[in-house]
Symmetry: C2
Subunit: 464 residues, 2 copies
């Protein structure tokens, strides 16, 4: 036991942890150092940080500060930072880097991160960068660029461990001890046949638990779960979740082992897909936060223009009843209530449906059951709000019939909202349109049009 | 090389993969077997599936079918399925399980999954279940229940590998080979001092790469990153992302090693947090899809009631201008356009802000910069839509002044929307209110009230 006493007294619970969120005060200090041109101070702030924290720092700075930081760090900039930052921020960084500094950073990165950065460059910049890289890296990156975006081929790490099945545990351990150019982290070793096609996979823990003479082919896991290089990244993430994978081999059309996707890549994919779902439902593009005001304005304009179209459609419905409104102005006061309640009820349904589709929980088989449920939910809540809004409107304007009109319109619109809240995303998906993007515009068009039409139409029939 | 020839020709790319989504046709077959009471057929469908796929199957079935399935599987049901399904579906399953079957399933689960299931039971069921479990499991679970929900303590796996630092690589390998009750999967081994406080961590790949006489304390990674047992799961997930961790030790107040959280738990946390953000913005609760219609109706009622309040507020604003509308009915036709455009522009901003706050990209330091940017974006798009909507309204009703009124109201409302789209979530967060929940109601209240007031108010001033 004496030996343990000699160990350095290392902190137990990170007594001085890197700040959980890089604190505003801390970033102010870095920013001051940057503006004062104090390269040593900047270096001392950045050096102890893991790349993801440096990326957060860069994102928190202004555009000018980003450029200063990149210039001060020069070739000490860890390439991984480039892979971690948001696309718009990366552009700021790339502009500030000297070509040879960029090449040094990229050469130092893992192959999947390097590919992400290179894929983002414009063609000339990319050619220039590639020509500065070692031949082997060039070949790998050029090959990587041939795989479509958002596929396994773009995510996979090319460095991996593949061994023949006739090796023993002892051979494998000896090989690992003798090799110098192993990947930094790996959880599994792949077993390949002479044509380099994977035939099995073996977790490191299993190698450690078996004796040296045991043959790898006896303890490897089969059948092997391998995925095609052109598999969509979202499908791949789904498989990782379902099968609790930590890494998976990726194979080409010929079945040859090309690379490995690890769970940390999958965490990034999951983050991305979630972000896309959330932002698309509101008609915003990724990276919006870091874009310049003018780029953001342009990107959002289109969505707002579509929404203007649907608002005008609703106005057209109202204008059909101008004569009725002229006689009973209370209708103009109350009509937004019906439309708004339909819109909100429909959005609740829609959000649940879009999320369920992203998680593969909503499909042809249970679609009818869920549509039916939403219609019932819309009907019951419609009834409840018919009583509340009808009573309230009747009292406010001292007109029981007006209360009955708004109550009836409320029920109609909330049932419609429940139905279309599920039906719209399912239909869009059938036509291969991303339900997250178009659903909410279509839905509010329906609930506005139906809301105004039912309310004003019933009023024209019953009140005049 | 002769040896490799003897290997079984295992499929390369999963030639008959388990269906990516359990296909509707396949689920129909299972459902038929369930309804026909054919237990053997059901068993043969379920047996080859990993637990996550069985969970998907259970979720896709109706409530009655779920009960039949659970009864037919009996004690062959893999406990992990219970951990994987949605809460509302799990209740269906728990109702159908015999107490001793449930106990068998839970005893078989990993400690973190078992804890999740037990935490979900009502107190009597929980006591009954605990009393049926082996003493050691009982103690672990009761202790686990003392940690607050959504903390590291609830996520952590209690089985882990901890060794003293004075061991050699050889000692460690021998120990692993001799132990029979190791966790199924592990990526790291922890090094502890005699008081069981963690002092280092060592990846399996590093053990494999070093020679037998090397001492663990020489090759372990220090300083150790350990997290407190009461750390919020969202903060923990953030740390995993930032530091690219695959597993992390969890320690008690006394610094003793209590358990380990692995990246697959973190993937679940990330999924959950994303789901919460998305659903809360629409006022829906988690698990909504699988709840009975009546439960869903009640859960959504409250949100709709709040929205009714804001709609009535908007109506009150309109009613201030009844006399004006009576004179110019066109105002009633056009007024929803201004409110709707403000609402949509504000929601774009709001969604970006809520997402940025969840990802810790929006903080006190850059808040002003982003508010300012959003005001500019709102102003520019407001100008653009002022021209479009103003021109359109002027032509439609043949009244240039009406066009000027709607144009001015549009600019005002879209600038206001940009400002409040960021200001509301930031303020809520400062008051410790989840910005995802309350922001959208507050925002649409603002954009409705301002939209109607600006448009009708300007009309009353300029047109009459």
């Amino acid at each position: 036991m004496a030996d343990t006493q000699e160990l350095e007294p290392t902190p137990l619970v990170d007594e001085e942890p890197a700040p959980l969120v890089l604190s505003p005060e801390w970033i102010d200090q870095v920013s001051d150092a940057l503006n004062a041109g104090d390269a040593d101070a900047v270096q001392s702030y950045v050096d102890p940080l893991p790349p993801a924290d440096v990326a957060d720092l860069v994102e928190a700075l202004s555009s000018d500060e980003r450029a200063s930081l990149v210039r001060m760090l020069g070739d000490t900039l860890d390439g991984e930072v480039l892979a971690e930052v948001d696309g718009a921020v990366r552009d700021d960084m790339l502009d500030a880097l000297q070509p040879e500094e960029l090449a040094a950073a990229v050469a130092d990165m893992e192959s999947d991160d390097a590919l992400e950065v290179v894929a983002d460059l414009d063609p000339e910049q990319r050619e220039d960068l590639l020509s500065r890289l070692p031949e082997a890296d060039q070949v790998l990156l050029r090959q990587g660029l041939t795989y479509p975006e958002y596929t396994a081929g773009r995510l996979m790490q090319r460095d991996l461990l593949a061994i023949p099945g006739f090796w023993t545990v002892g051979d494998t351990i000896d090989f690992l001890r003798a090799s110098s150019d192993l990947p930094d982290d790996f959880y599994d070793i792949f077993v390949v046949d002479p044509r380099h096609q994977p035939i099995g996979q073996i977790a490191l823990s299993r190698i450690l638990r078996n004796k040296r003479p045991v043959q790898i082919s006896e303890i490897m896991e089969t059948p092997l779960i391998a995925f095609a290089v052109d598999m969509d990244q979202e499908d791949l993430a789904h498989e990782f979740r379902q099968k609790d994978l930590t890494s998976a081999p990726i194979v080409g059309d010929d079945g040859r082992l090309l690379g490995v996707v690890t769970i940390d890549d999958i965490v990034d994919v999951i983050d991305e897909e979630h972000e896309d779902d959330l932002l698309r439902m509101a008609g915003v593009s990724e990276g919006d936060l870091y874009e310049a005001a003018w780029d953001t304005t342009k990107a959002r304009f289109q969505w707002l223009l579509i929404n203007l179209g649907t608002a005008v459609l609703a106005s057209a419905v109202i204008s059909m009843f101008e004569a009725t409104i002229e006689q009973i102005v209370a209708l103009a006061v109350l009509m937004p209530i019906v439309a708004s309640m339909g819109g909100n009820a429909g959005t609740q349904t829609l959000t649940v449906a879009v999320r369920a589709m992203a998680m593969r929980q909503l499909n042809r088989r249970n679609a009818m059951r869920i549509v039916w449920k939403e219609v019932i939910v819309g009907g019951i809540n419609g009834l409840a709000f018919a009583v509340i809004a009808g009573g309230f409107a009747g009292l406010w304007f001292g007109d029981a019939m007006l209360g009955i009109v708004i109550a009836s319109a409320m029920i109609i619109n909330m049932v419609i909202a429940g139905f279309f809240g599920v039906a719209i995303p399912i239909s869009l998906d059938r036509f291969k349109i991303d339900p997250a993007i178009a659903s909410s515009v279509l839905l509010t068009t329906v609930t506005d049009v139906v809301g105004f039409f039912a309310f004003l139409g019933l009023a024209a029939l019953l009140l005049i």
